[in-house]
Amino acid sequence: MILRFEGVTYHYPGINTPALDCLDLSVYPGECLLIAGTSGSGKSTFCRASIGLIPHFYHGELNGKILVDGLDTRQHSVFELFRHAGLVFQNPDAQLFNQTVEAELVYGLESLGMEPSQIESRLAWASRLTKLDALTDRLPHTLSGGEKQRVALGAILTLQPQLLILDEPFTHLDPEAAETLRSILRAMKSEGITTIIVEHRLHEIIQDVDRLILFHGGKKVAEGPPRQVLLEDVTDVGLNLPPLFRLFKDFGIQTAVFDIHEAIEKLKVQSLLNPFYDHLIGQFKNLPKASKEGMHPAVEIQNLHFNFDGKPVLRGINLYLRKGESVALLGRNGAGKTTLIKHLNGLIKPQKGWVRIFGNDTSRKPVSELSRRVGLVWQNPNDQIFRSTVRKEVLTGSKIFNAYDPLWCDELFDRFGLLPYLDRSPFALSEGEKKRVAFASALSLKPDLLILDEPTAGQDEPFRRELTSCLRRLEQEGQTILFVTHDLEFAAEHADRWLILADGEIIADGPPNKVMEDSTAMTKAGLRPTHHFQLFQAIKRLKENGT
C-alpha cells in the first residue's frame, strides 16, 4: 500500500468545521485515482496531508493516522516524505523558483545529494516523459501555462516518488495543453507510476483512471470504478458530470458513457439513434439572437493591429458585434484574446486601425469613461478585491461614477446570493463567492457590454450552475455579452456566435455548429468540437450511410 488514511480528521487553526472528516482511504501501487468534489470538499487538504505538509507546515488539529509508503507522516518530516510522495500544486507560478527549466527539474535531486550521473539520467527520463526536451534552457516565467504545468510535473517526476499527486492540473490549460497533459499522464500510467489526480472537471481524465473517489464536506462519499460511482446517486456532491453522461441522463438513459464510439454502440443496441438525434437537434443553441433584436452595433473593430515587444499579437482584426449578442471568443493561450478584450474598454489603445464601442472611438476616450459602459469580469477576482465589506466592494464603481441605483444593486445582491455576506469582508469568502462579488461589481454600473474572462476556470459545478442561470437571465434581458473561454461545452451552451482567434487573426466567425464544422480553423486553434457536436455528427453520418 502506497498511501493509507486511517480515520483522519483535520481542522485548520481556528476553524471549527473539519476540512477532513473521519477519512479512510487506501491507495495501491500502480493505481491511477481521480478524486473529485466541489470547492471546499477537502481535496486540497487531502493533497497537503498526503505529503506531510499537514501537520508539519500547517498546524491545526490532526487526528487519525496517515501512512505514506509505510511512513507515519507525524513522525517523518516533509524532507523525508518528499522522496516517497510528490505533489504538483495548483498554481504552477508558485512552484517554479529556479532560473531555467533544467535547474527546476534537477532541484529536488540536488537536494537529495544525488551523484551528477544519476541526476543526468533522471533529468533525461523526466524531460522525455513530460515533453520538455526543447524547453530546458528557457526561463520558467516566459513559458505558457501548459508548459509551466509540465515543468512543475517534471520537477516532481525526477524524484521518482512512489506516489504522484496532481492538484487540479487542468484548471488553467487550453484544450491542446490539456490533451498534452493527458498523454503524459497515460505515459506515466504505462510506466506503473501510482497517480492521484484531484480535479473537478471529470471529463478531462475520467476515461483513464482506475478508481473515482468523491469528497463532500471533508468526507469520502463514494468510491469505486468511475462508471459505477457515476451511476450512484451523486447529485448532492455537485459534480461536473462528463458531457456525454449528462446528455444521456437528460435523455432519460442512465448509463455511463465517456466516448463517442461507446455512445453510438449504446444507442444502436437500444435502437435509439433517431430519437437521440432529434434530442440533440433540440438542444442546439443555434439561432443568432441579434437578428431578432436589431442591428445596432455594440463593438466595431476595423483593421486592428497590435504589437508587443516587436512581435505581432493582433493582426488586422475586423469585428462587428451587435447589441444583444452573446459571443464566445475562443483560441489557445497566447492567441491574443486578452489583448483583444483589453482594447474594448481602452486599457490598450489601437496601434493601427480603430475600435468603436457604442459609436465611441476608444483611442479618444479615457478608460474611466469607457468602463462606465463596458463591464469586465476578470478570471481572478482577487485582482480587484480591496474593500472592507462585500457591500462596499460591489458598490465601488457605481459610487465613483455617481451612478448608484439602490434598487438595481439590491437586485444584484439578491441575484448573486450575496445578501448574507454584505457586511462580511470579501477576503473571507470562498473563490466562487468572490467571483460572484466580481460579477455583481461589474454589473452594478449597468454596463451595455459585459465581458467575461474565463468565467468557469477553476470553478466547481455549483458555481457553474449559478453562472448559467445568471447568464441566461442577462441574455433574456438583451445584455450584450462577450466571453473568453477554453470551456467549449460552456461556450456552446451560452453563445450564439463563436469567434476563433489564432495567431492574432480571427480565423472563424459564426454560429457554434458552423464553426465546429470548420475543421481547419478548429485544428489551427487547437480546439476539438464539443462531445455534443461530435455525437451529432457521428449519428448524422450513420443516418446518411443508412446504417
Binding site: R48, I51, L53, F57, V78, F79, F82, G86, L87, F89, N91, D93, A94, Q95, F97, N98, Q99, T100, A103, V106, Y107, G108, L109, E110, S111, L112, G113, P116, I119, E120, L123, P140, H141, A155, I156, L159, K342, N345, L347, V367, S368, S371, R372, V374, L376, W378, N380, N382, D383, Q384, I385, F386, T396, G397, I400, F401, F427, S441, A442, L445
Partner: protein, 224 residues
C-alpha cells in the same frame, strides 16, 4: 545568458576588488581607462545591445550624479562622479550578464552563506517579472472598474485599490512558494549540485591577482 570561464566566486571577488579600486581612486584618467577596458569586455562578449538597454536605466542616475557633483563642487568632480557610477555599474552589469543566478546562488552556498540568503538573492531576480505581471493585472482590473489609479491626486486616495490586492496576493504567493519549496527539499543538508562549482587554476589566478592588485593599489594610495 553568456557563461564565463570563471567560477562565480572568483568573479565575485574580482568585481568586489574592482569596485573598491574604483571607489578609492578619484582620477578621471584611471576611471576612463577602466571604463574603456570594461567596454572592450562588453564588445568581446557581444553584449552591446543589453549594455545600451542597461544604460537607458542607469543614464539618468549618471547624469544626476554628474550635475549634482558639478553644481556642488566643480566640473572635474562632476565628471569623476558620473564616470565612477557608470564604471561600477558596468562592472556589475558584466558580472550579472555572465553569471546565471543559480550558479551565483550555488557559489554562495559553497562559500558558506546560508541557503535562505542565496535563495533570496536569486529569487529577487526570478520573481520580479511574476510580480510585475500580477501588478499589471491588478492595475487593469481596477482601471476597468473606473478606479482612477493612473496618476493625480485621486490615485493617492485609491492607492489601497492597487496596494491591497498586490500585498494579499504576494503573501499568498509566498505561502504557496514556501509549500512547493518544502516539498522539493529546500534547505535540506547534504545538497549537491549538478554543476558543482569548482575553483580551477584560472580562478585561483584571478583571485590571487585580484588581492595582489588590491593590496598594491592600497599601498600606493595610502603608504606613499
Amino acid at each position: 545568458m553568456k557563461r564565463s570561464l570563471l567560477d562565480p566566486r572568483s568573479k565575485l571577488i574580482l568585481s568586489f576588488v574592482a569596485m573598491v579600486l574604483l571607489m578609492t581612486f578619484s582620477y578621471w584618467a584611471f576611471l576612463a581607462i577602466s571604463l574603456g577596458i570594461l567596454i572592450l569586455f562588453v564588445s568581446q562578449l557581444r553584449l552591446w545591445q543589453n549594455w545600451l538597454l542597461f544604460l537607458k536605466g542607469l543614464g539618468f542616475a549618471v547624469l544626476s550624479f554628474f550635475l549634482i557633483a558639478w553644481l556642488a563642487f566643480d566640473l572635474p568632480t562632476g565628471v569623476i562622479s558620473g564616470l565612477r557610477l557608470l564604471t561600477i555599474g558596468t562592472v556589475f552589469f558584466l558580472f550579472f550578464q555572465t553569471t546565471p543566478p543559480e550558479l551565483l546562488s550555488n557559489g554562495l552556498i559553497k562559500i558558506g552563506f546560508p541557503n535562505a540568503f542565496a535563495f533570496v538573492l536569486s529569487a529577487s531576480m526570478q520573481f520580479v517579472p511574476v510580480l510585475i505581471r500580477r501588478a499589471r493585472n491588478i492595475r487593469d482590473a481596477q482601471r476597468a472598474r473606473g478606479i482612477p489609479i493612473e496618476g493625480g491626486i485621486k490615485s493617492i486616495i485609491y492607492l489601497p485599490a492597487f496596494v491591497g490586492p498586490l500585498l494579499i496576493q504576494s503573501f499568498k504567493f509566498a505561502d504557496e512558494l514556501a509549500e512547493a519549496m518544502e516539498a522539493r527539499g529546500f534547505g535540506l543538508s547534504g545538497r549537491r549540485f549538478r554543476y558543482e562549482p569548482h575553483l580551477r587554476w584560472i580562478d585561483w589566478t584571478v583571485i590571487a591577482g585580484s588581492f595582489i592588485l588590491l593590496i598594491t593599489a592600497l599601498l600606493i594610495k595610502y603608504a606613499y
